[in-house]
């Protein structure tokens, strides 16, 4: 069946015209705008709930700051100074107004601006989270795919069982077990801090590994890496378990889709069938679950950092909750929420590019 003459002349006559890629069209832009607008109400609701919940924790910051010997008058004076004597809705509005002007409050405990301290601690948390996220993806996605390839075999059952185990094991249990095993019994790895005490690094990026590399200090880099290992594994466990399960089910579902049968019917090579028809279609749920892990990482960091004496935002928030340091808790949680929502927005955009049908829904 050669095309008829008219067909050939037509296709030769028409100049090749590639359609504009999706990310340059209005579709994607309006999709992103819509999602950004959806973030705002989420943040409003979250900030109200958070503001209310912190104040439900029994105890009075002024009394805590002044100690057991303070008089009622002194406490009352401090409450007025901190604005805690105002009705709660007014406190909330003041808080919003301050944030709008870029003021995230001042810590009751250290009396330093929350924003400054947050950003000096944040790199530590980010470093830990990034390494943990990479670990959970590097372990989770291939194991999930392997499990899917061997669906309903012993391999699949063992991987699924371990993923459920990883996912349901509490972070503090994993952390303590790892410390006990590799730190205390085997003495292979350090159990606290970000780097050995004898290293002094220039504070350029505040990522211990990056700063060590920048100062060309290889033994410091090694020390930073070994310090990262246990906490990042601890933090990665829960996410890895979930990523394995989602990857497995997504790949299996994708493999059963009718269009994969079409592709097999075309006689494509095994590798092309797998990459373009099975794995590509399986990606969106995997991307989404990986993005959701940012939330798990940030909340898990609070526990992990506390266990491993890691000087990040997580351990700071835990301390601040205990000391009723409202500005610190409020602002860090709000910033975490913004990060979380933005990462999920990025995941949605990636999915829209991967599967353009999603951008329209």
């Amino acid at each position: 069946m050669q095309g008829s003459d008219t067909v050939q002349t037509m296709s030769k006559g028409v100049p090749r015209k590639r359609r504009t890629p999706l990310w340059l069209t209005g579709d994607l832009l309006s999709f992103v705008l819509k999602r950004v607008l959806q973030i705002i109400p989420s943040l409003m609701i979250l900030s109200v709930l958070m503001f209310a919940f912190i104040r439900m924790v029994p105890g009075d910051p002024a009394r805590l700051i002044l100690g057991p010997t303070a008089t009622a008058a002194q406490i009352e004076a401090l409450r007025g100074q901190l604005g805690l004597d105002l009705p709660i809705w007014q406190q909330y509005l003041n808080y919003l107004a301050n944030i709008a002007s870029g003021d995230f409050g001042t810590s009751y405990v250290s009396n330093t601006p929350v924003a400054a301290e947050f950003f000096s601690r944040f790199p530590a948390t980010l470093e830990l989270s990034i390494v943990a996220l990479i670990l959970s993806v590097v372990v989770g996605v291939p194991l999930g795919r392997w499990s899917a390839r061997r669906a309903n075999t012993i391999t699949d059952y063992s991987i699924t069982a371990s993923s459920v185990f990883l996912h349901s094991l509490p972070t503090f249990v994993v952390g303590l077990l790892l410390q006990l095993c590799f730190g205390v019994w085997l003495r292979w790895l350090p159990v606290d801090g970000r780097i050995g005490p004898r290293y002094r690094l220039p504070e350029v990026t505040n990522f211990a590994t990056v700063d060590a590399l920048l100062s060309l200090n290889l033994s410091a880099f090694g020390s930073a890496l070994t310090h990262l290992l246990l906490p990042s594994i601890t933090l990665a466990c829960v996410s890895a378990g979930l990523i394995i399960r989602i990857t497995r089910s997504s790949v299996i579902a994708s493999r059963r889709a009718p269009h994969v049968r079409t592709a097999r019917g075309k006689g494509l090579s095994r590798s092309r069938l797998n990459s373009r028809h099975i794995q590509l279609n399986a990606l969106p749920p995997i991307v989404t679950v990986i993005a959701l892990q940012i939330g798990t990482m940030l909340s898990g960091a609070a526990i992990t950092e506390t266990i491993f004496s890691w000087d990040g935002v997580g351990s700071w928030v835990v301390l601040s909750i205990a000391s009723h340091d409202y500005p610190v808790v409020q602002s860090t949680i709000l910033i975490f929420a913004v990060i979380f929502l933005l990462v999920n927005l990025v995941a949605d955009v990636i999915n829209a590019v991967l599967n353009p049908r999603l951008a329209l829904e």
Partner: protein
């Protein structure tokens, strides 16, 4: 003529592009077995068009997928021989099979909404088919893809190459699938309800494309459909399937002129015919049998107006009467085919009371008031 000679005759059909011999397909799910195809023997010569007709679940699509070896292997039990372009495909290694699929045998799938990859552009899906089997540049494959889209009547094919499946209509997707299937001018093309999703004008256009293809390149076309109109217009031979059996097999003209099996007669008399609008339609009462039981008697017996006692004793074999093959112990007379009901007495024998599940389900399908509808009975 005995069954054996009939089979032999069909088996030795010359220039057969695809031959199926005693194909049996069973699906296993837990303890249950579904007997989907129960001993089908067919062959299609180069350039010939065979229609396979039957209602949903009669095993026609399953037979099509079996020819492509696209049935889910873990739960499927296949026996019999399937020879495509000279190769027995059952024992073929997967790599060899991949080389044949698309090039020697291709299929147009029933559901255009889910049978295209949603994340790849249409052009890419046609191009990759071409590149999988032919040494050609990507640019050449692309312009060939555009030609193919033009061939199946898609306007502005250059632009459409860059569309995603969700951006075009169902009818358009069906045509893309056809373009993909005919891309390499396969020796055998299985069209599973190729025009069901299309409106009537498009339907005619697509059928014309398939017919032309078959005439030009000698592609053997297997047209799987429930639509007798499609069969009448495009095929040269027809096999009527019921519950996994071929129950009648004849040249298309013969089948329409003189249907012999009660089921075929029922199919024809259940739809209005142009020029005979005054005729009363005769529905087929009851529903198809439960295929989870091994068939032990005629699968159509529970719904049949012509059944006799032997229908309950064994599955009637497909017997050749010249070129015309019928699997029936009491074939319909041509006068009866005209009116769609028996004109002789004494049919409608109730099933013997054997206590098997198959018989119980057969009794359940017993159409009520069957005797009353028999004209002149």
């Amino acid at each position: 003529m005995s069954i054996d000679t009939a089979t032999a005759q069909r088996g030795t059909r010359r220039n057969a592009a695809v031959e199926i011999e005693d194909l049996r397909v069973q699906f296993r799910a837990g303890k249950e077995t579904v007997y989907a195809v129960n001993g089908v023997t067919l062959s299609v010569a180069q350039g010939e068009t065979l229609g396979i007709v039957g209602e949903s679940g009669c095993g026609k699509s399953t037979a099509g997928f079996a020819m492509m070896r696209l049935l889910p292997e873990k739960i499927t039990l296949i026996s019999g021989r399937i020879i495509v372009a000279g190769n027995e495909i059952q024992g073929l290694p997967e790599a060899k099979l991949a080389g044949m699929r698309g090039r020697d045998i291709a299929m147009i799938y029933q559901d255009p909404m889910t049978s295209l990859n949603p994340v790849l552009r249409i052009g890419e899906q046609i191009v990759e088919t071409l590149l999988a089997h032919k040494k050609m540049t990507r640019a050449a494959a692309r312009s060939r893809a555009s030609e193919l889209l033009e061939l199946v009547g898609i306007p502005d094919p250059e632009m459409r190459l860059d569309s995603y499946p969700h951006e075009i209509s169902g009818g358009m997707r069906q045509r893309v699938m056809i373009a993909m299937a005919v891309a390499l001018e396969p020796k055998v093309l299985i069209a599973d309800e190729p025009t069901t999703a299309l409106d009537v004008t498009t339907q005619a256009q697509i059928l014309q494309v398939l017919k032309t293809l078959s005439g030009k390149t000698g592609t053997a076309l297997v047209m799987i459909t429930h639509d007798l109109g499609v069969v009448a217009g495009t095929t040269s031979r027809v096999a009527v399937m019921y519950a996994g059996h071929v129950i009648e097999h004849a040249m298309t003209e013969t089948l329409f002129a003189e249907p012999r099996h009660p089921y075929t007669v029922g199919l024809m008399r259940a739809v209005p015919r142009i020029g005979s609008e005054d005729e009363e339609l005769v529905p087929i009462s009851g529903s198809p049998p439960d295929q989870r039981e091994m068939p032990v008697f005629c699968p159509f017996a529970p719904r049949c107006r012509w059944r006799v006692a032997s229908c309950w004793n064994e599955v009637p074999p497909l017997v050749a009467h010249g070129e015309h093959e019928v699997a029936c112990f009491n074939p319909v007379l041509s006068k009866e085919a005209e009116v769609g009901v028996p004109l002789r007495d004494g049919f409608g024998v109730p099933p013997p009371s054997r206590d098997t599940k198959a018989f119980r389900s057969a009794i359940a399908f017993e159409p009520s008031g069957l005797q009353n509808t028999i004209v002149g009975g």
